[in-house]
């Protein structure tokens, strides 16, 4: 899951996609004697890009969500001992931008726990979408996420969801934050990405911070592997700035986390903070940097408080 980013080109599936633009540009500009490996990687990239589903908010299926809530409840209650506080802080109706800190690698258990809590609290009838990295949606076997309201991270999808009056969950830290090393697990790190603030200002919707703890203890994350990602051109080809290295079952040493892993049963606690009405609090012409610092400070303070409550890692 990740933040929406601005890009100029429009892809065939209706998204303004940095990666697709980069691939096409690279293909045009590349010399005819390019290496076999480069051509191979570019071919894989094209395959992956072609698998990214065309965005359709109507793919969210309330009946499917309802029928699967008991299974999700079992997972959240027994395996992750989930606890979600402050759902009453989310406005009862209307569009709202939920901004979360992102944890747990490519499998993000806190998203599951929050989706369950939100759907049970407000009912599956209330439209709720989550933005996800393109790669997540193009992975085989994960198409069911679209029925839960997961859509590819793009400015169009985010704008459309909010214009439709939905609640939208974004993770500005994206792949950068979700793969942070385990010793940084109690740190909110959006990597200075501020697109979510511009989105909230443009759409005139409140920001509701959602702070979670425990997700980054579901595997032992050792490194983001950003140098490795740069060397392998993953940034240009797949919009991946990281190639994470972790220790996780069943693989042991897990590089890339492309096949997922079995998350460790760490206790997950989520706290929803009161809504931030940007123009009411920061004036008619607000400073994006000031809002960013404010949101980060609020979320970090809450995460510190949740960390102080936690007596043992994993156990909670």
């Amino acid at each position: 899951m990740e933040e929406t980013t601005r890009a100029a080109a429009v892809s065939p599936n209706g998204h303004r996609e940095e990666a697709l633009t980069d691939v096409s540009a690279a293909a045009d500009a590349a010399p005819p004697d390019r290496g076999l490996i480069e051509r191979l990687v570019r071919g894989v990239a094209r395959q992956v890009q072609s698998r990214i589903p065309v965005a359709d908010l109507d793919e969210r299926d309330p009946d499917y969500i309802r029928e699967n809530l008991p299974g999700l409840w079992l997972l959240a209650s027994i395996y992750f001992r989930g606890e979600v506080r402050g759902l009453g802080n989310i406005p009862d109706s209307g569009p709202v931008l939920l901004v979360g800190n992102h944890s747990g690698g490519n499998l993000t258990p806190d998203t599951g726990v929050f989706t369950l809590a939100f759907s049970a609290y407000f009912g599956v009838e209330r439209a709720f979408y989550q933005l996800a990295h393109n790669l997540v949606l193009s992975m085989p076997g994960l198409s069911f996420l679209r029925k839960f309201g997961t859509v590819a991270a793009s400015p169009e999808n985010a704008e459309k969801a909010l214009e439709d009056g939905a609640a939208l969950l974004v993770y500005p830290g994206g792949d950068w934050e979700v793969h942070r090393p385990i010793w940084e697990r109690h740190r909110v790190d959006f990597n200075r990405r501020k697109g979510f603030i511009r989105l909230a200002l443009e759409q005139k919707v409140p920001i509701v911070p959602v702070v979670s703890i425990g997700g980054q203890e579901t595997a032992i994350f050792l490194s983001r592997g950003e140098t490795l990602a740069r060397v392998l051109m993953l940034d240009r080809l797949f919009r991946l700035k990281v190639l994470p290295i972790s220790i996780a079952p069943p693989w042991g040493l897990n590089i890339g986390d492309m096949l997922g892993h079995i998350p460790l049963p760490a206790k997950i606690t989520i706290e929803v903070l009161p809504p931030i009405e940007l123009r009411e609090e920061f004036g008619e012409d607000p400073d994006v940097d000031e809002i960013y610092e404010h949101v980060i400070r609020l979320m970090q303070e809450t995460l510190d408080a949740l960390a102080a409550e936690r007596q043992l890692p994993f156990v909670g």
Partner: protein, 162 residues
């Protein structure tokens, strides 16, 4: 899945009925309840609607419910309109010496949830059962306490007149 709990209250059924039909009291005596809001014009009676939520482990579950049976001071039943499928019932029966037998039943589930749904219902049952049991004890305490206060006030009134 159906869970139920029962208790004997040392008060007449009318007093207990007054308590279980007053939506403003629910958050005071119902254990695990996090929301009980009136969403219909009429706050009580046949057709009254409430939005309710109950904390069951990792989630607050519930939804919109509607009163479908109203037989004072004996039976009150509701069924879900949205959210979790549920049917609840208060069953009050008069006993000798001004006592009342109170039974609280709750059936719940999610139609179409399959095997995981059945497992989840059974896993949730002890928590829901605990909420029901605690609710009845709190109901008993509050009704009996109110009756004592009412009797004491009556005695004070009589002694002043005398």
């Amino acid at each position: 899945m159906r869970v139920q709990a029962q208790i004997e209250v040392s008060a007449p059924p009318e007093l207990v009925w007054e308590m279980v039909t007053d939506p403003s009291r629910y958050l005071h005596f119902m254990a695990g309840l996090t929301r009980w809001e009136v969403v219909s014009k009429s706050p009580r009676g046949l057709g009254a609607r409430y939005r309710m939520l109950m904390q069951v482990r990792s989630a607050e579950v519930g939804g919109l419910i509607e009163v479908v049976e109203w037989d004072p001071p004996c039976d009150l039943a509701w069924t879900s309109v949205t959210g979790l499928d549920q049917r609840g019932r208060w069953r009050l029966r008069e006993r000798p010496f001004g006592r009342t037998h109170v039974e609280f039943r709750l059936s719940y589930g999610v139609v179409g949830a399959g095997i995981l749904g059945l497992v989840a219902e059974r896993v949730a049952a002890p928590t829901v059962q605990g909420h029901l049991r605690r609710s009845l004890h709190q109901l008993k305490r509050q009704v009996e306490h109110e009756q004592l206060r009412a009797l004491a006030a009556e005695r004070r009134g009589k002694s002043r007149v005398a």
